[in-house]
């Protein structure tokens, strides 16, 4: 029998310093555009290059709406001289319209132990792959008291990816109904926020919030594991929220 025990020990600790410290390892995040100052003419060209409408032309430059940005990189490559500023951060989780419903009780109850049920409502597979990385030794969410559970009866948080296809609408509602109160919903990926590239269409609802109440939104296509982790920490009030849009005025600080 191969000595797996020794192999495990030899590998050592790989775990990210996040959330105690920022993780600066290269490649942990695809990054995303930041609102950038441009003159009106350049701003128009850049906004037009965005295929999803995430870049919004503004008098002083280009604003970004992260509910639509899919990191297609069309605003930073092949644009000639003007390119959008590009951040390498990952603390992207933002509060949804339902954020206040459970008040601060949620942290008191679940601050140290939280069970998560993942649900695929039509995601392309990249979101699920990133969510699956949460359990790998680099991210190791167990150290934070987060556990993945296969049953909604045990779950405190429903982590949903995908635009909610017609066939997944009822399974999503049933899963949500099966979870005991108090509970929260984290929608991850732009598909789950706005329908992403799949739209609202004849077959997809165009976001989780169209079907069940959503507490935390994590943009990204897909959001990297650290962004999902930020969203989960936000859902239990263990970190500060980010915003879903970024305006040019905010870059001046």
């Amino acid at each position: 029998m191969f000595n797996w025990f020794y192999t495990g020990l030899k590998t050592g600790i790989r775990t990210t310093p996040y959330p105690a410290k920022t993780d600066a390892a290269p490649g942990v995040s695809p990054g995303r555009p930041r609102a950038t100052r441009f003159d009106a003419q350049v701003a128009t060209v850049l906004a037009m290059r965005c295929p999803t409408g995430a870049l919004v032309r503004h008098q002083r430059g280009v604003d970004v709406d992260y509910r639509h940005c899919v990191h297609c990189s069309r605003c930073r490559r092949d644009t000639g001289s003007a390119v959008m500023d590009w951040s390498q951060d990952y603390d992207w989780g933002a509060l949804g319209a339902q954020a206040e419903r459970a008040g601060h009780r949620f942290r008191d109850i679940f601050g140290h132990s939280l069970h998560i049920r993942f649900l695929d409502a039509g995601a392309c597979g990249a979101c699920m792959s990133e969510a699956r990385q949460l359990n790998n030794p680099y991210y190791n969410i167990h150290r934070l008291g987060f556990f993945i559970t296969p049953t909604p009866r045990d779950a405190d948080i429903l982590l949903v990816a995908g635009p909610v296809t017609d066939a997944m609408r009822i399974p999503l509602q049933k899963t949500y109904a099966a979870m005991p109160e108090p509970k929260r919903v984290v929608a991850m990926g732009v598909c789950a926020l706005s329908g992403g590239v799949f739209g609202p269409s004849f077959i997809s609802a165009g976001g989780v919030a169209q079907v069940i109440p959503v507490d935390v939104l994590v943009p990204g296509c897909p959001p990297p594991p650290l962004a999902i982790l930020h969203g989960l920490l936000l859902a239990v009030e263990r970190t500060m929220p980010s915003l879903l849009t970024m305006r040019v005025a905010e870059t001046e600080t």
């Binding site: 990191h71 490559r77 392309c124 017609d166 799949f198 739209g199």
Partner: protein
């Protein structure tokens, strides 16, 4: 070590199609396109079946895809076949008025076409005469009969209210033995699993019959692509299946380049193939990790997951995105990585592959692990042929088909590599294939990066009206993308035939008559994607 490009010549059998077919069926006419190596066989409603059966049965062509198109007032059905022995394609083309919705089925004999016909019936309202099982397939019970979303007059963007209908689905049962019951799995199941449903009929231990039910994730990609520009449709192509994003984007770009007769610059050709192999490596590591997880081998799972995450980080460092989104564009690539990044890629891929081989050694010496895989989930060579299976699943059962080797597209004509095959067809054979293919991918990347040509990474693509097929060997097997543009350069029809759609068809065969605890293991060794299947 760039070997001079040698264009493969189609075999004599393909050259003879234009004489053989009209001689056997006087109403069939053949037009041969010698530059693209395509024989267009124009058939009539009565000859479609005999011609297809002859191609598949006697001429030993492989079935690639069925493309259904509604153009003006005519149905255009294109059955795409290719000869695995050579570089030749046969497009069996049928045209009939829209009012005539009945077509002779080939799916009862060419099993590979079975699901293609069921899909066309569901989405277009065509009737395939003689097909043994038509009806609810892509669209589930809460979708009304007679509403066919792929028809031209159907508006894809209006939110459709039919999901409100309260209908109940009763799984069809066959097993009548004493004590028989149904074990339902999904659509929401396991820790992290894509949405799919499996009806397992059993009397206790053995899975007597397994009925998979898919298309929970049907996002109507082919429909919503219509009317978009190629640039926007590429976003959809990349997001058909996040785990094989580059391969599908690559196939889409190849369709576009083939249609617009664009010559991709040498530097982009080499880098595209290198990135495609990088994706294949990461994909296979992910499937291997899943197999370790399915058997509960925790340390091996953690080792695999570390390697997978390292590949994701490496991909982001070299290409700017962990899943290679936004790297491709028709005509080439959007980014030109500098020598330093390519050097990093070469060095890191080699180091990661060494660790993968260590994992392989560990698994080979873990008898408790091997016991769970050996002789489990058997796929025999006849099943590969009948179902037209592709990719690692087929190659673990004796198939040697690999589009990279058959058609030598992109930069694959410049490198020598092996197509590994195994003959046992069990779970362990599939695991060995994954490791062996990963080794080949690593070698291909090294050889390609040894000598990357200089120059631009993209060429201009001038859209033109017409249709073309793009194909690549995705990590899970052959994928075929059919793209038709109108005069304004907008997508008129986008048809995607994916390896998961193919291989899920035979999954039932692999799990039936094994016991319950083998189910997750067979599922993991297939390693298929539902997003890719459902689209």
């Amino acid at each position: 070590m760039v070997v001079a490009a040698v264009m493969q010549r189609p075999s004599a059998a393909w050259q003879e199609l234009h004489r053989i077919c009209p001689a056997r069926w006087p109403e069939v006419s053949v037009r041969t396109d010698h530059t693209m190596h395509i024989a267009h066989l124009m058939v009539t409603p009565t000859t479609i079946r005999p011609v297809c059966l002859w191609l598949f049965g006697e001429a030993e062509y492989h079935f690639a895809t069925l493309v259904t198109e509604e153009l003006d007032d005519t149905w255009h059905l294109t059955y795409v076949f290719y000869d695995p022995a050579c570089h030749g394609w046969a497009y069996v083309e049928l045209q009939q008025p829209l009012a005539q919705t009945s077509v002779m089925s080939i799916g009862d004999t060419i099993h590979a076409a079975d699901w293609h016909e069921r899909e066309a019936e569901d989405l277009f309202g065509l009737r395939f005469e003689g097909h043994p099982k038509l009806g609810e397939f892509v669209l589930h019970e809460n979708w009304p009969e007679g509403v066919n979303p792929m028809r031209k007059q159907f508006d894809a963007h209006a939110p459709f209210a039919y999901h409100q209908q309260k209908t109940v689905w009763q799984p069809p049962t066959i097993v009548e033995a004493p004590g028989a019951f149904i074990m339902p799995i999904g659509p929401v199941y396991s820790d992290f699993a894509e949405s799919a449903h499996f009806v397992i009929e059993t009397t206790g231990e053995d899975m007597l019959r397994v009925l998979p039910r898919f298309f929970y994730k049907y996002r109507g990609v082919e429909k919503i692509a219509e009317g978009k520009t190629a640039d926007h449709a590429l976003l959809l192509a990349e997001r058909l299946s996040g785990s094989s994003a580059f391969a599908h984007g690559f196939a889409f770009c190849r369709a576009m380049e083939s249609l617009c007769e664009t010559e991709v610059p040498p530097r982009a050709r080499v880098l595209r193939s290198a990135f495609a192999e990088l994706e294949r490596l990461r994909h296979h590591v992910s499937v291997i990790t899943g197999i370790c997880a399915s058997t509960g081998l925790a340390v091996a799972q953690a080792q695999g997951a570390i390697i997978e995450e390292d590949f994701l980080r490496l991909t982001a460092q070299v290409c700017g995105h962990r899943y290679l989104f936004g790297v491709l564009k028709p005509g080439g690539l959007t980014l030109a990585p500098d020598e330093q990044r390519l050097g990093l890629l070469r060095e890191r891929v080699h180091a990661l592959h060494t660790r993968l081989e260590e994992l392989h050694t560990g698994l080979r010496y873990s008898s408790s692990f091997l016991d769970r895989l050996e002789d489990v989930g058997l796929i025999r060579a006849e099943v590969v042929k009948a179902f037209g299976l592709v990719g690692p699943v087929a190659r673990a059962s004796g198939s040697t088909a690999d589009l990279r080797k058959l058609f030598r597209y992109g930069a694959y004509e410049q490198v020598n590599f092996e197509v590994p095959t195994e003959t046992q067809g069990d779970g362990y054979a599939r695991l060995r294939i994954l490791f062996r293919e990963a080794a080949q991918s690593m070698a291909i990347i090294e050889r390609l990066l040894d000598d990357v040509p200089h120059g631009p990474v993209s060429a201009e693509v001038i859209p033109r009206a017409g249709a073309a097929l793009g194909f690549v060997e995705a990590p899970l097997g052959a994928t075929f993308h059919w793209l038709r543009l109108d005069a304004a350069g907008r997508v008129q029809r986008y048809r995607v035939s994916t390896p998961s759609f193919r291989n899920w068809h035979a999954f039932r065969v692999a799990v039936e008559h094994f016991s319950f605890q083998d189910f997750p293991i067979v599922l993991a060794t297939f390693g298929l994607s539902n997003a890719e299947c459902d689209r």
